[in-house]
């Protein structure tokens, strides 16, 4: 099977500080559903940052979707990011845009047609139960609602790889289940590869998944 992510001797650190991921080796197949767990501060978000090219490896190699991220040009990085769907731990919604426009962002960047954008956005708003809030601004929503907007935005352009950082961290059981269903749907129907950072792996998972754990700077599969 195709490898979406290949990490060899991957080391990550913020400028001149201690290494957070130390010489890790792992690979993720196309179509996998992967959970990443680890203690707070262990480097889960840091790993995701490296996967979308916001943090360059200080050592080793990291290839995502065929793009080597250690030495990558801006245009190549933009090309890769257009095919990623990211849910950030701090959501990163554009405050001066409405919910609707926030969800449209990846569609705008990918140059979708107006009507396609509108239909896709409407359908996603319905799925995350935020249809009645479409015209509101992020700061007018609760934390959990903002998180659902971030999820909808990550799915908007049918990305081939979804990176979600604690996408249910702020949600009750009912809303969490909404999110899991969406991710499972993207994985099953759209064959998207999914990497989710979480503290609790849901018990209701219908698709098969892999589980990686980060500890002491290493990333290991839990079998």
């Amino acid at each position: 099977m195709d490898k979406v992510i290949i990490a060899e001797n991957l080391s990550l650190a913020y400028s001149n500080n201690e290494t957070i991921i130390n010489k890790a080796n792992f690979s993720i197949d196309s179509g996998d559903f992967v959970f990443i767990t680890g203690a707070s501060g262990s480097g889960k978000s840091t790993l995701l940052k490296s996967l979308y090219g916001a943090l360059k490896p200080i050592e080793g190699s990291l290839v995502v979707g065929g793009v080597e991220l250690r030495e990558v040009s801006n245009s190549k990085l933009n090309f890769l990011r257009k095919h990623l769907g990211i849910v950030f731990q701090d959501y990163k919604l554009v405050k001066e845009w409405t919910i609707e426009k926030n969800i449209m962002l990846p569609l705008i960047i990918n140059g979708y047609e107006r009507t396609v954008m509108q239909n896709q956005t409407d359908s996603l708003l319905k799925h995350v139960k935020l249809r009645h809030q479409a015209g509101k601004y992020p700061l007018e929503l609760s934390g959990g609602e903002q998180q659902r907007v971030a999820m909808a935005r990550a799915l908007a352009h049918n990305p081939i790889l979804i990176l979600a950082d604690e996408p249910t961290g702020n949600l009750d059981d009912y809303s969490s289940q909404l999110i899991w269903n969406l991710l499972e749907g993207a994985n099953e129907q759209l064959k998207a590869t999914i990497i989710v950072v979480t503290h609790h792996i849901p018990e209701t998972m219908k698709v098969s998944y892999k589980h990686y754990h980060i500890e002491f700077g290493d990333i290991r599969e839990v079998i």
Partner: protein, 270 residues
């Protein structure tokens, strides 16, 4: 409401710049018109021993608009009685010649002094009366007025620019965030800044239209026109096409400059 707040600060700043510029333009126009007026009513008197070649004199300085002799006939007419025609002719020939020299525009004191010098060294000219005392007072008043207005307009522009730079940090912060987020979803640099440049152009257009409405209203007030006609000048206070285009140009240039600052100051955060 939200989008109104987004536009408000830059629009107000731009309007105050446009306002100062237009006031400055109006004063410039008024002073030019006034100077023209003064030049129309102003003349030097030249006294010569013999008849002078007026064409030659006319060509000797750019400043001179016309030279006319002041006819002594009316004076002579008073003496007419009891003097023979022969004697009158003799008197006419020996009498000093007076000329009135009109100028193209109202000269600066320096130009006037030079002209006086030039005239005194031409042909048989003996005396030049420039009425410099009254002349100087008016000219100084004009200059003072212009200086006061320029300082005023300049101060407003400087204060506005300082305010803009203070606001710039807030804008930079706000736009930085959006540009970073767009970048994380793979937006190329031009698309990331397109939003900002579009906002800048929209703000510039709003500011220009706003200023247009203000000046259109102000200059249509009859008392303002009366003020100007009371000092004997009629000028175009606000040219609806030319001045508007200038306003539009200035505000687009200023806001584009600001947008460029913001884009250049953009930093990718980790």
């Amino acid at each position: 409401m939200k989008s109104f707040k987004n536009h408000f600060s830059l629009v107000i700043a731009l309007v105050s710049i446009l306002f100062s510029l237009q006031i400055f333009t109006i004063v410039e126009r008024a002073i030019d018109a006034y100077r023209e007026n003064l030049a129309k009513n102003y003349a030097l008197v030249v006294v010569a021993q013999k008849r002078v070649d007026t064409d030659k004199l006319l060509n000797s300085s750019e400043l001179i608009a016309s030279i006319n002799d002041i006819s002594p006939d009316s004076v002579i007419a008073k003496l007419n009685s009891g003097i023979s025609k022969q004697n009158i002719a003799l008197l006419k020939a020996t009498l000093l010649k007076f000329y009135k020299v009109k100028l193209n525009y109202y000269p600066s004191p320096n130009e006037l002094e030079k002209l006086t010098e030039l005239l005194l060294h031409s042909q048989s000219i003996k005396r030049v009366e420039a009425f410099s005392k009254t002349y100087n007072t008016t000219y100084r008043l004009l200059l003072l007025f212009k200086t006061v207005i320029s300082v005023f307009a300049f101060t407003v522009i400087i204060v506005t620019i300082l305010l803009i730079f203070k606001e710039l940090r807030i804008w930079q912060f706000k736009h930085n965030e959006r540009m970073s987020i767009m970048g994380l979803f793979g937006a190329p640099a031009w698309l990331r800044s397109a939003v900002l440049f579009r906002l800048a152009i929209v703000d510039a257009i709003i500011a220009s239209i706003f200023s247009f409405v203000i000046f259109f209203y102000l200059t249509s007030l009859s008392w303002i026109e009366e003020q100007f006609s009371s000092i004997g000048i009629s000028i175009v206070l606000f040219d609806k096409i030319y001045d508007f285009l200038i306003m539009l140009g200035v505000s687009i240039a200023v806001s584009m400059l600001l947008a460029t600052f913001i884009v250049l100051g953009h930093k990718e955060e980790v």
